[in-house]
């Protein structure tokens, strides 16, 4: 006999869990799977992003060595006279001058960017002793012109070993560099070429210019005080920062993108919590008399709540463990197959191994467990609150759900969501935007039990018997229907909001491309890199080419206003100050500076938001080593540059800098001329120029949109997973209710219902519940999309966009979901339907 008995805890656990965990392992597995998918995605995205960001940090450290401070200038650099000034400062023990540029290099017939670092090996050795050791064998040869050392990553990428020749594009010409050897693999994992600084200045047409000096300070120097004092002495546009700031700046490039991906993965986990909620809420409803009996037998309120939470903990631990394993292998597979770049192009050129941080595994395990416990909290508290005498007698589980119809918590959450949406970002992260979305989701879920009866009351009271029975069943159990639809409501609203946001972004990008690409074709001096251009002679040849009606030239430089942020782009092109909207996608009001006022600049939304450059403000910008004053005349939308951009009239730029070079040209064709013939004429006029890129406007648009689609591909995947988890919720809901209604099905079979009629009834119920969930999800999704577009996206990336709702796609999504929900409902109820009808009717429980 004792073999059949259990210990006290075992007996209680069995009493509480057996129904759902042991007797319904499939349903329990579905709930655990909801958690597992969320944990797996969250961990995988985190590990891939972390591995990539870690590579960035390692790369930054390998380049700065033992430097205490790094002095940097814009792409145009600064006069090399600054170096002796710095090296002679009493606080400075050693200084290492450098020229660091991305150049275009030919790889497999295409031009790609390669980072070139020009160093004085002997000076650099004082700041980076490890470097001298690394290059000691090639030191003498490195001093020869046009020789380079390559990192292993770069060598593999270029297919070049020692002795090979690499062709780079500098100015208007191609230059050949001889590969001396390879840098140690562990120290330099990014794509990098190291040259002697004099060679680099010559090869990259930067004689007398530097753009970086690394400083090692004498012992005892107050680093922060010296940094501040030195910053005040440096020429305009030159900044000084610590190596830590340098490393953080590299990682900050992709921070908003990484955080948004993590948030999307968390959305999947959040939806998983609702599957647990649905599972436990319906399971507890079904077992309300059993749990009440435990209360009668002497289990305390806290005791029954703990039992429900323990059940959730088992689901959470199982799901989190499965998710951790799946996430680990998913991250490994992604890094192996695609590298650390998750589609946005931030990490191209970085080869990363998996950075398996144990804390991340613990964190995501805890998140999975917490999500399950969070989902169980409501059912646990409700179970503890329920009067056992009532629950023992009550035959109507809907009474237990009546408490959920209180609308005040939902209204309070909606008010909080509105308040959060008005709050500014925290440290550049739209924390309150995410909180606003979470409050909207939770508020809608809490409002669902109030809305469900009204929505279900609209269901048809006529038609075939299964249809009528399904409608009556749902109308009679609106509380349980609301619980079942919680996860589908959450997942659909998130998918809809993302779809609206992505469509709005894509359509806005399309419109933006039309405005910023008004010409017939475009020329770029090099498709990548910073060291190629069109000389004034090139520009004259382009204008004079047969078939060219007009040409506009653009000079791209960069500006460094804050050492903690990456430099922004400075773009000089012809702009009519009276009508800037003809060439720039200006948003809001703009002004025309009056006579005697500083000349106009037009700033991107990021520059407006982050640097506070409001319309009408007069600002100073460092140009050619001097500060010049400008009037902020307008703000424009820029989807191309994520670190900010400023437009100014090219004539003004030339007058202030004397720089007549150009990087891009916009070409308008004479009537009747084709791009093919003009392209041939331009190539003939410009001569042999490796890397020269000519693109028809249509191709450029198509390419830009394809980059956009690739960037968002991973977000589609994450959304699809969230919806799959939502469907699991429907499955769990139907399975729970079907199990509780076995007696009803048996009775229907007694009076002549066929199995297929029962199946049809369940399918219709699933579709109806989902229909209401999808309808509410569409409405909620639209509201959330407003927060995503106007708060989260704006605060993350500083991009505004116009709202566009993809109605046909949403209608198709709704239809697919309804069909999937009906199929899920039939599949989930199959076990209950297949039961012996006579036995089902006999059963008391």
């Amino acid at each position: 006999m004792s073999a059949h008995l259990l210990s006290r805890d075992g007996l209680l656990a069995r009493a509480a869990f057996a129904a759902s965990l042991i007797e319904h392992p499939g349903r329990s597995l579905l709930a655990a799977l909801g958690i597992a998918l969320g944990v797996a995605l969250g961990l995988a995205v985190h590990l891939v992003n972390r591995s990539a960001a870690n590579e960035f940090t390692l790369a930054a450290h390998s380049l700065t060595g033992e430097a205490h401070l790094v002095v940097r200038g814009p792409r145009a650099g600064f006069d090399e006279e600054l170096y002796p000034f710095l090296s002679r400062l009493p606080e400075v023990e050693a200084a290492s001058p450098a020229l660091e540029l991305e150049v275009a290099v030919a790889v497999a017939g295409r031009s790609e960017p390669l980072r070139v670092l020009g160093l004085d090996p002997f000076r650099a050795a004082q700041v980076q002793p490890a470097l001298l050791k690394d290059i000691a064998g090639s030191l003498q040869e490195l001093l020869e012109p046009d020789t380079v050392l390559l990192s292993r990553t770069a060598a593999e990428w270029l297919g070049a070993q020692a002795g090979a020749v690499v062709h780079i594009l500098a100015g208007s010409e191609s230059r050949s560099l001889r590969v001396l050897g390879l840098l140690p693999e562990k120290a330099y994992r990014q794509r990098l070429a190291v040259m002697d600084i004099a060679s680099a200045q010559l090869a990259l047409d930067r004689l007398g210019r530097l753009n970086r000096v690394d400083l090692r300070l004498r012992p005892g120097v107050d680093l922060e005080a010296f940094r501040a004092a030195l910053g005040a002495q440096l020429p305009p546009g030159v900044q000084v920062a610590t190596p830590e700031t340098e490393a953080e700046r590299g990682a900050s490039l992709s921070r908003a993108y990484r955080i948004n991906l993590n948030m999307l993965a968390m959305v999947a986990l959040f939806t998983g919590a609702f599957v647990v909620f649905t599972t436990l809420a319906l399971s507890v409803l079904k077992r309300r008399r059993e749990l009440a009996l435990l209360r009668v037998l002497g289990v305390t309120r806290a005791g029954v709540a703990r039992l429900v939470l323990a059940e959730a903990a088992i689901l959470g631990i199982t799901g989190a463990a499965l998710g951790i394993a799946a996430g680990h292998f998913l991250a490994l597979a992604v890094l192996e197959r695609f590298g650390p770049d998750l589609g946005a192009g931030y990490f191209s050129g970085v080869a990363a191994g998996l950075d398996a941080d144990p804390a991340a595994y613990v964190l995501f395990f805890a998140l999975g467990l917490s999500a399950a416990l969070l989902g169980a909290l409501g059912p646990a508290l409700e179970t503890a609150r329920t009067a056992p005498a009532l629950a023992l007698r009550s035959g109507d589980p809907e009474r237990a759900l009546a408490r959920l119809r209180n609308t005040w918590p939902a209204l309070a959450l909606f008010a909080a969501a509105l308040a959060f949406a008005q709050a500014p970002p925290l440290n550049g992260i739209p924390v309150f935007g995410y909180l606003s979305v979470a409050a909207l989701l939770l508020g809608a879920v809490l409002l669902a039990p109030r809305l469900a009866p009204a929505a279900l009351a609209l269901l048809p009271a006529r038609g075939p018997v299964p249809l009528r029975l399904a409608a009556e069943q749902l109308q009679g159990t609106p509380g349980q229907a609301a619980v079942s639809m919680a996860s589908i409501l959450v997942s659909v609203s998130l998918m809809v909001s993302m779809a609206i946001m992505v469509t709005s972004f894509r359509d806005s990008l399309d419109q933006w491309l039309s405005q910023v690409l008004p010409a017939d074709m475009y020329l770029r001096s090099a498709p990548a890199g910073e060291a190629a251009w069109f000389s004034p002679e090139d520009q004259a040849r382009i204008r004079a080419t047969p078939g060219v009606k007009d040409a506009g030239f653009l000079r791209a430089q960069n500006l460094w206003l804050d050492p903690a942020r990456p430099p922004m782009a400075l773009l000089a092109r012809p702009v009519d100050p009276a009508n800037p909207e003809r060439v720039l996608p200006v948003t809001g009001r703009w002004l025309v500076p009056g006579p005697g006022e500083p000349p106009p600049i037009w700033v991107s939304e990021l520059v407006h938001d982050v640097y506070g450059f409001g319309v009408g403000r007069v600002v100073e910008l460092p140009l050619a080593g001097k500060n010049a004053r400008f009037t902020v005349a307008g703000v424009w939308r820029d989807y191309a540059r994520q670190n900010g951009a400023i437009y100014m009239e090219r004539d003004v730029y030339i007058a202030l800098t004397g720089d007549r070079l150009a990087n891009d040209a916009a070409i308008w064709l004479e009537p009747g001329r084709s791009t093919v013939e003009v392209e041939a004429a331009l190539r003939a006029a410009l001569g042999e120029r490796p890397g020269l890129l000519m693109t028809e406007t249509g191709e450029l648009r198509a390419y830009s949109l394809s980059v956009f689609d690739r960037t968002f591909a991973v977000t589609y995947l994450l959304e699809a997973v969230a919806v799959a988890i939502g469907l699991l919720g429907i499955g769990v809901g139907v399975a729970s209710q079907a199990a509780a209604r076995r007696g009803e099905f048996g009775m229907l079979r007694h009076i002549g219902f066929t199995r297929s009629q029962v199946a049809a009834m369940l399918g219709i119920e699933g579709a109806m519940v989902s229909g209401v969930g999808v309808a509410l999800g569409l409405a909620l999704g639209w509201v959330i999309s407003l927060v995503l577009v106007h708060v989260v996206n704006r605060q993350s990336f500083h991009w505004s966009m116009d709202m566009h709702v993809p109605w046909p796609e949403l209608a198709a999504l709704a239809a697919v979901l309804l069909a999937a929900a009906a199929a899920t409902a039939i599949a989930s109820g199959r076990a209950a339907m297949s039961m012996d009808a006579v036995r089902a009717v006999r059963e008391d429980w």
């Binding site: 006999m1 004792s2 059949h4 008995l5 259990l6 210990s7 006290r8 007996l11 209680l12 069995r14 009493a15 057996a18 129904a19 042991i22 007797e23 008399r289 059993e290 009996l293 209360r295 009668v296 037998l297 002497g298 289990v299 305390t300 309120r301 806290a302 009067a387 056992p388 005498a389 023992l392 007698r393 059963e843 008391d844 429980w845």
Partner: protein
């Protein structure tokens, strides 16, 4: 001798707009070894009286003492622990846990009260023998007839030797033969254990098995003279 249960002037109304009074000044004493029946029409408050005695509900006024301890002054957790230790229940609808075996259902109160495994095994075996189901220990409740299920419920109610047994229409779902068996069992076990028992029933035949019979009506609780 101190009564096991002592009720004085118990008053209870249903909450809500009507505030309909259910119990008005009910008083009752039940001595050790005594087994009393409470009869009354439907809706008169018999189950409410049981719920108040069990501490599952609280009275508007009056006192309930179990072995001299005042129940109405206790908080919910203390009442729960007292119920766990000192009371046993038999319901009309059996309320056996379907996913536990017969033995495990009977062992549940013993487990809750921290009985040692060996004592639990012996006690379960004894009780199942006493109710004539010694061979059905490993069975699931659904495999038993209604009468057998109620005998398991009786065994469970008596497993931890409660001072007070409360039975709410225990034969309402049973045929005559099974009902007779269960009623005999209840009476034997209550009186043998030295505790007290209250049987709530509609059935005059069931009530006849008790030492005393009370009738609950809107006027209050009155003993029926035989």
């Amino acid at each position: 001798m101190l009564p096991v249960l002592r009720i004085r002037n118990l008053v209870k109304s249903y909450a809500g707009a009507t505030g309909r009074p259910v119990l008005r000044g009910v008083s009752l004493d039940v001595a050790p070894g005594e087994y009393v029946a409470v009869m009354g029409e439907s809706g008169v408050g018999k189950s409410t009286l049981l719920n108040l005695i069990a501490g599952l509900d609280t009275p508007d006024a009056g006192n309930i003492e179990l072995d001299g301890a005042e129940l109405t002054a206790l908080d919910d957790t203390t009442r729960t622990l007292l119920r766990r230790r000192a009371m046993g229940f038999v319901f009309q609808a059996f309320h056996l846990l379907p996913h536990l075996s017969v033995s495990q259902n009977v062992a549940l109160p013993l487990a809750l009260n921290g009985f040692a495994q060996q004592e639990t095994d012996a006690r379960v075996l004894h009780l199942l023998e006493a109710v004539g189901l010694a061979e059905r220990g490993p069975s699931r409740p659904r495999e038993l007839s209604g009468g057998e299920q109620q005998r398991v419920a009786v065994a469970r109610a008596l497993a931890h030797r409660p001072r007070l047994l409360l039975a709410d229409e225990p034969t309402g779902n049973l045929d005559q033969e099974s009902a007779g068996h269960v009623l005999r069992l209840l009476r034997e076990q209550v009186t043998a254990g030295g505790g007290a028992g209250i049987l709530v029933t509609h059935s005059a035949a069931a009530a006849a098995t008790a030492d005393r019979v009370y009738v609950l009506s809107v006027e209050g609780l009155r003993e029926r003279q035989t």
